[in-house]
Structure formats: C-alpha cells, structure tokens
C-alpha cells in the first residue's frame, strides 16, 4: 500500500533490467563534469610552466642585477685604482721614513740620561751625606759615599737615605729597588763609607 510513493533507490535501478541495449560511446560524448578534465590536463602543466617561468625570471633578473652591480663595482675600482696605487707607494715611502725616525727615538730613550739621574741624586741627598762616586751602568747605579757623624747615627742615616731613594717619585719611574751593599767606618776620616746599589727596572719585553 502506497508503495508507489516510496523513492526508488539506485540499487533498485540497477536491479531493473535494461529495456534496450546501451549504444552510448562514452569517448565521443561531451564532458559534462562541473570542472572538466581538460581543465586539469591543460591547467596543471600551465600552472607548473608559469611557476617555473616566474622562478627562472626571478633568477635571471637577480643575475642581471648582480651583473649590473659587477659593472658598477668594476668602474669604481677602475676609478680608485690610480689613487690607491699612489697611496700605497706613498705609504711605503712613509714606512721607510718612519723606520728611521723610530730608530732614532729608540736610540735616545734606550738609556737613562746621566744628567737627570745625577741631578736627582744631588737633590735628594741629605746634608750629612757626601757622594764620592756614582757609576751608572746598564742594570743599575752604584753610589759610593761617606756619612759624617757618629757611627750609629751614620748607619741610621744610610738606611734613611735608602728609604728616601726608594720612595722618590721621580726615581720610582725608572728604578726597581735600592739596596745597601756595604757600610764601613773609616778611622782615618772619621766617617762611615757606604755603597748602595740602585737597580733599574727591566726593560719591557718587545711584543
């Protein structure tokens, strides 16, 4: 009852026997799909070709741009080269001249000036101390002298003189240490003879 109102299913259609032979030639029938197969067959290669062409174009443009930069850089180099060559030649001459000036400078500063040292020893010498001999050598200075007064007091003055030399601001720039070498009373003169060694600082190692 009311079975004719029911929607027929596909299985029903298949099950229904064909009432005439199917003469359709599917290869010649038009493509009636919403997006036709031809679109994919032509579109996909076209898309790939366009992408590749764009990529190749970008690379070629980049190459073109780089070649342009190459030309510009080469032109700049050609423009700078004469001035640069001249500058290099001048600099070589400058170096040759500079070596001589540096050598003279090194020659002059390599040794302490005796007059400055002698002047400093004269300025720092206590009144009761007489310097009899000052030897200035490469590694240091030997001071020989005598001290007036009582022997005990003379020894104290010798120690005090060593401290004066050690703490002298001017001498500190060039000396490392001051040491007593000897101190002996001299019965003939009634004084105490002494010897002090002032060691120079070691020259800075060349880098």
């Amino acid at each position: 009852m009311l079975s004719f109102l029911k929607k027929k299913t596909d299985s029903d259609a298949v099950q229904a026997p064909a009432w005439h032979p199917n003469f359709r030639n599917y290869e010649r029938l038009p493509d009636i799909k919403v997006v036709r197969t031809a679109f994919f067959v032509n579109g996909a290669p076209a898309f790939v070709a366009i992408v590749l062409a764009v990529y190749l174009g970008m690379r070629e443009y980049e190459l073109f741009s780089l070649n342009g930069q190459l030309v510009a850089t080469q032109m700049q180099i050609d423009a700078d080269r004469p001035a640069s060559t001249q500058a290099v030649q001048q600099y070589r001459k400058f170096q040759e001249q500079e070596v001589r000036v540096k050598e003279v400078d090194a020659f002059l500063v390599s040794k302490a000036l005796p007059s400055s040292l002698l002047q400093r020893f004269a300025d720092t010498r206590p009144e009761d101390i007489a310097l009899d001999q000052v030897d200035i050598r490469e590694n240091g200075i030997t001071l020989r002298g005598s001290i007036r007064g009582d022997t005990q007091e003379a020894y104290a003055q010798a120690s005090s003189y060593i401290e004066i030399l050690r703490n002298d601001a001017v001498l500190q720039e060039s000396i490392e240490d001051v040491n007593a070498v000897s101190a002996n009373p001299n019965p003939t003169t009634g004084r105490v003879s002494f010897e002090i060694f002032v060691r120079f600082k070691a020259p800075a190692a060349k880098k």
Partner: protein, 186 residues
Amino acid sequence: MAITNEQLFAFIRKNPIGVGCGVISLAIVGAMYFRSGNLPAVELELEQLTNEGARLSDNVKNSALLKEQLEELTAANAAIDGRLVSARGRFDNQRYFTTLAEASGAAIVSQSQTAEPKNASKGGFVNVPFNVAVQGTYPQVMDFLRRLEYGEHFARVNYSSVSKVPNDTARDNVIVTLNLELLGRP
C-alpha cells in the same frame, strides 16, 4: 600496454596547451639546470670585487693626509741626517767633544773612538762608540753632560762614572768618565 604513435599524436592534438606547457616546463628546467652555476659564480665574483673595491676605497680614504705626513716625515729625516756623525770622521768627532767641553768650561781629559761601528741598521744608522773623560767643577760637568745629551748629535751614554778628582786641592772638581755612542752614518 604500450602507447602507439597514433595515440600519442591524438593526445597531443587533443591537449595542445597542456603538452605545450609541459614542453615549455621541460625547457625551463633545462635552462635552470644549465644556468644554475651562473648565479653563485657571479655572487662570488661580486664579493671579491666588492672586497677589492673596499680595499682600494679605504686606501684612498686613509691616504687623505698621507702626502702632508710624508712630507713632514721626510723633512724630519733630513733634519736627522744633518745631525748624524760620520763613522770615518774621527777628527771631526773629537772636535765635537772638545767644542762641548769648551762651551761648558770643563776640560777633556781623554777621548777616543773605540771601535769600528757594526753593520748599519735597517734605517741606515750606525752607532759610533766613544770613550770620553771630562774634568771640571760639578756644574761644569753637568753642563757638559746636558750639552752632550741634547746637543747637535744624537748621543746615548752606556756607562758613566762620576767621581771626585784624586788629590784635588780645590776639592770641588769631579771627573766624569763616559762610554757613549753617537748616532752616525756608515
């Protein structure tokens, strides 16, 4: 299931755009392959040229005052040359010490050019060695030393000894013995 030529041509005739694009794609890939080495090579060349350009540009930039500095240095060296002693000019060199002593009021006790200078330095200088002994009052000897240190010729004192003159009746004379070098030309 092999494809016959007829089927292939039929496919081409049916899909000319697709086949054409495929061929173009292959051609592009081929071109990319053959030109793939160009870009790195050009980049490398550009980098090298840029470095070279920067070096030359720096040379030009840094040499802005080089000419003036070179002129100053050349003038300084000319002045230095004028202050050098000649290693062979023994008499002239001895006269120099005598002149200093006369100017300071001290007296030359002895002087000698001790040895032949060694080979010239890189700058073309030789150190000409001397032994000089000078006697005078302390101020005179100090004046002699200062004239020597800051005098016409470049001097370097390697050893100096200042001591009282033995048996000096005036008791104010000192003698200074110097081992020194004057900067000279061979």
